[in-house]
Amino acid sequence: MDPRHLVVVGGGMVAQRLVEALRDRDTAGTWRITVLAEEPRRPYDRVALTSYFSGRDPEDLELGDADLWRDPLVRLVRDDKVTHIDREARTVTAASGRTYCYDHLVLATGSYAWVPPTEGADLPGVFVYRTIDDVAALRGYVEKLQSDLRRPVRGAVLGGGLLGLEAAGALHALGAQATVLQVGTHLMDTQLDLGGGEALRRLINNIGVGVRVNAMTVRIRPHRRGGVGRLDLADGGRVDADVVVVAAGVRPRDELARAAGLGIGPRGGVVVDDTCLTDDPDVSAVGEVACIQGACIGLVAPGYAMAEVTADRLLGGAAEFPGADTATKLKLAGVDVASFGDAFGRTEGALELVWADPVNGVYKKLVMSDDARTLLGGVLVGDASAYASLRPMLGRELPGDPAVFLLPEGGGGGAPDLELPDDAGVCSCNNVSAGTIRGAVTEHGCTDVGAVKACTKAGTSCGSCLPLVKKLVTTELTKQGITVSSALCEHFALSRAQLYDAVRVAGLRSFTEVVERFGTGRGCDICKPAVASILATTAPAHVLDGERAALQDTNDHVMANLQKDGSYSVVPRIPGGEVTPEGLIAIGEVAKDYGLYTKITGGQRIDLFGARIDQLPLIWQRLVDAGFESGHAYGKSLRTVKSCVGSTWCRFGVQDSVALAVLLELRYRGLRSPHKLKLGVSGCARECAEARGKDVGVIATDRGWNLYVGGNGGFTPRHAQLLAEDLSTEDLITAIDRFLLYYIRTADRLQRTAPWVEEVDGGLDGVRAVVMEDSLGIAADLDAQMAQHVEQYEDEWRATLEDPEKLRRFASFVNAPEVPDPSLAYVPERGQARPATPDERAAAGRGEPVLVAGSTLEVRS
């Protein structure tokens, strides 16, 4: 039998999910599918639209497996908008004039951005925020203004809901000043109560986005130069704006359905029943265009649920729409916001538990039933870490006192572990229950989160449930007696910590010995640097000594940092960020002579970019002669000890933070570790050195030093936690010695101190017991190991310069050591060199007058 024909009007996220779900289950091939999309691209992740500003290509936003569109039963017609539905003839006609017959029709036309009828809304510079093209046009406009205006571009966003805040974040990311104008009393008023909205406003203000509430725009006025210039508000206020984004809400695109005579809801949208059928049994509607249970829902998760229901029904199933899960969690420029269930406490007799900490920008509220036992909903702003475990508990009794879920980390002994019932939903995007995840482990043999994701689709959309998925998987594996593999790579079945112990106890000194004794094969880019790092502290030797050279990543191998064009950057050590004028001049002279791009780093030193591999020894000879040594910016090792100026100069300083920072940096320089190590010392509680953002942070008190551990910046910023108080300098150093070596011995590869502290037996308390009370009886051993490190430290650049064998590694070409790499090309920018872009290279290749400085910048002999 020929397959029946399903025509899907619309090519958005829900359409994609429908096709995916149907092709997944329709193994007999009873349906062939044609998707008619108005946009000229494949379905993409509209929810992640803002990430397009952080440099992602439109292709990166594509959803699912591209193979879906190569399936012979699936046809995607792009850039062809459907203009007419003939329900009698069961055909649809598209703008191209083509007509398609259907056996079943699904309307997935979505919404459009609604622009309130406002004078000036049609001016150039007024944008909506819905499609990639909208976002690209906005970006182009802002970038053009930035180069024309020579001052920051002022952007205004009309609407303080989800989309408005996304748009404001996008403007902010583009470097524009963004102000959100919210008609209502507070931000995100559909999801948050007033307290949550206020907390969110403060957090958004802190990142530099302005917010005005009760701000109704009545007129958009043009600027003299053309385009938008100013907004007039209903209260007589005015807001200057060079660009305006209207994010006042969305409306269902139900015009086709209206023309076809299908039932339309009172506020628009195609009316469907719980099976997603319209009043025509051959026509369904899914996603934002569907008016289901009386309303259109502008969230993707319910849309996905409708797609699943429709796919099931098309194959003869009996699925019904389970009701919309309107739970929302998002991260906006680092601000966590979540809302779920009855967030406004509208249930009869509902009780509200509120924790508000305006100092740290946290607002949390749980809505409980009248007996304070059953969770009905909640609002989390500033810290939404409890979301993943709380949301699946909606409508269920929480164990114990619900207040523990609101208290900050470590404040109340932590929230109890929740044993989720099998039917509790974990991934709301893909409607996956705790039972399904457990089943993936127990019945389908999945042994890690990756396999469970592939098997169940849990966590594959927004990812906010992944911590919970991981916990469930690990618990289930442990129950089965399966230990989660911690093998380093295919060559070593041991974890890094096990290998460290094995190598140390066996007293091995080379990779060949290690791999022959404990591994297989010849290693790889994962285990070789790991073994090099282990040997660096168990059997210290120069990075380029003998076989060790072959283990190093290129950065460690040439003792510089590889940059995108294949050149390197050079960072001399500047302990504690303290540098003499002579030192600065020496660095400046080197940079000038070699044409290096110069930038101050976050670690209080100077990075010199654009050095060719063959220039590195020449540059370092000059730096070593001027008294500098390697800064190990290239290594998984101690980077810097950042400090404030301290009590010697500062009016408020209580201790000499610079002297301590210099002492610590010279003590731990060259110490190889599982990941980079950063330290900081502040001379008083004002914390100008940002020491709590470091792996080890020291803050002066009037009685000594407070020691914090486990902080970092980067992708997952963490504040270091207090390990010990009011230590003398001597005790402080002993504590840091032991902390660092305990970490180096037992952490996983590329695991920074924060996650390591969490995983150590007993967490921070466990670390404290080992470091401060020697609970494992290894303190003497750790102290001796650190003494050996301090004793044996040598500047690896100075040692390299003294060894002709090592210097041979820096030849540009083995057969032409004098010829510089001809592929390097630079152009001037703001008075310095930067790598030429591919376009600039191509233009130079065509002989067009593009300023490409040669790869050999003049060197003074």
Binding site: G521, R522, D525, P529, A550, H557, G566, N815, S823
Partner: protein
């Protein structure tokens, strides 16, 4: 993998085997073309493009040499120092794209250059 007609191959002496450190690459310049040479622990010398198709930089000789089991067979590999794609050193085939795509116009694999060692001298063949 590029198959060369050995009849027409011209061999160019590049360096001595001893100039190459075991399991560490070296770049060579052959008539303007950049080649990455690798000497393995078993004594073999292999050559692939110095150009990394995933980063568009000339850096392959600076990658870490290792091995990987492919269909039960251990093959010699090099990992790009830039974004860590892993290539088979014998065939040039990319074994692990590390989730990236090659730069526009580049194949995801490396071209392989024939190498022979005579009298301790490494020679690279060009068609």
């Amino acid at each position: 993998m590029t198959v060369l007609d050995t009849q027409k191959t011209t061999w160019t002496a590049v360096c001595r085997v001893d100039d190459l450190a075991p399991e560490r690459g070296a770049a060579a310049l052959l008539d303007g073309q950049q080649v990455a040479l690798f000497r393995l622990v078993d004594g073999r010398v292999l050559a692939v493009d110095q150009h990394d198709p995933y980063s568009d930089a000339y850096v392959m000789s600076r990658g870490i040499v290792g091995s990987r089991t492919v269909d039960g067979v251990e093959v010699a590999t090099v990992a790009s120092p830039m974004y860590k794609q892993v290539f088979d050193l014998v065939t040039g085939v990319c074994l692990d794209a590390a989730g990236k795509t090659p730069v526009a116009g580049a194949s995801g694999d490396l071209t392989v250059w024939p190498v022979r060692v005579s009298d301790g001298v490494v020679e690279v063949g060009t068609p």
